[in-house]
């Protein structure tokens, strides 16, 4: 009952239980963070807009993204995965979501930024679309959180160019 094996086993079990408890508490502490992020996206230019041979349209646009996501970071945050998705409707599909651009923010210091980026997507002429900035908080351990900010009112050009 007091052999090395038993003691090692008891110690290991106890250590693992405590570790699991600490991970749960760390994750729970994330609930006390009330973030207030701010984002602004400007579409600077539609570079080109063409009809592809296999039926889809392809568009390339340049966006300017300004964001302050510092309040999303807690001590238990490993990184923030953000991406911009365009949401639009077509006659066949009631919902389309296409990711245009993504980035990984590893630390609080990088969370205030602005970005200029050019992207492609497949959509149709004259369509209205929403740009949504999604962010996924990836913790060091525990529960993952995700949220988004929707900006609406963008429109694709009517003609191909």
């Amino acid at each position: 009952m007091h052999s090395f094996g038993y003691r090692a086993n008891a110690l290991l079990t106890y250590a693992l239980t405590i570790l699991a408890l600490m991970c749960t508490i760390a994750s729970f502490s994330d609930n006390f963070n009330f973030p207030s992020p701010s984002v602004e996206i400007q579409v600077l230019n539609f570079n080109w807009f063409q009809k592809q041979p296999h039926g889809n349209d392809e568009v390339s646009l340049t966006m300017n993204i300004t964001a302050d996501l510092q309040s999303l970071f807690t001590w238990n945050t490993k990184q923030l995965f953000i991406f911009v998705a365009a949401e639009y409707e077509t006659p066949q599909n009631s919902l389309n979501q296409v990711s245009l651009w993504d980035a990984i923010i590893p630390a609080k210091e990088h969370a205030k930024f602005w970005f200029q980026t050019a992207n492609k997507g497949s959509n149709l002429r004259g369509k209205e679309f929403n740009l949504t900035l999604h962010w996924h908080v990836m913790p060091k351990t525990g529960k993952m959180l995700a949220d988004k900010l929707v900006m609406s009112g963008f429109r694709l050009p009517e003609e191909y160019r």
């Binding site: 990184q79 919902l95 990836m138 351990t141």
Partner: protein, 180 residues
């Protein structure tokens, strides 16, 4: 050396009733583990509520050896969610992020495209031959939580099965030779 002699002594002195009761205890432990696993499957709605990340395609978020907790709900899939899916004909499930969703109004069909964070291109090359989009039925669950490094035990046991045998053998020996 004395340790081995002690164990051999204790094996010789075992009685049938004691052996049986120890076997039953072992059976209870295994059944309890199985019940917990099945209960987790019911709770999360997913076939495999806990998965181990096997590749580095989601780095730096998920590294090889991390454990992911999955949850499956009726809610529709949206861009950005991290999902675990099976490709027909391949055994190992893949953990990647949804980057495109197209929902058809009339037929209710949904087309999903995924990509690993660290991969330069989307997952089309991983899908079955001729398949360009994922169907929601192929998805086993969404990742809702994770614990780092905890999956290395599983990876080591899968890739070097000898360690699995050693561990199970040692555990069995411990159970049999315990004086309780």
């Amino acid at each position: 050396m004395g340790w081995i002699a002690e164990n051999v002594e204790s094996i010789k002195s075992m009685k049938i009733r004691d052996t049986l009761s120890q076997l039953i205890t072992l059976g209870m432990i295994v059944s309890t583990a199985l019940i917990i696993w099945k209960a987790l499957m019911c709770l999360t709605g997913s076939e495999s509520p806990v998965v181990v990340v096997l590749s580095g395609s989601m780095e730096p978020g998920f590294k090889r050896g991390d454990i992911l907790f999955l949850h499956m709900s009726e809610a529709p899939f949206r861009a950005g969610e991290i999902v675990v899916y099976n490709v027909e004909g391949k055994q190992i499930p893949i953990v990647h992020r949804v980057i495109e969703v197209h929902e058809q109004e009339n037929s209710g069909k949904v087309y999903i495209l995924t990509k690993g964070d660290a991969n330069p291109a989307d997952d089309r090359s991983l899908y079955a031959y001729g398949q360009n989009w994922l169907k929601p039925q192929q998805i086993m669950g969404r990742a809702v939580g994770f614990v780092p490094y905890a999956g290395w035990v599983t990876i080591i046991m899968t890739e070097k099965p000898i360690i699995k045998y050693i561990l199970v053998g040692a555990l069995g020996l411990l159970v049999i030779t315990s004086k309780d």
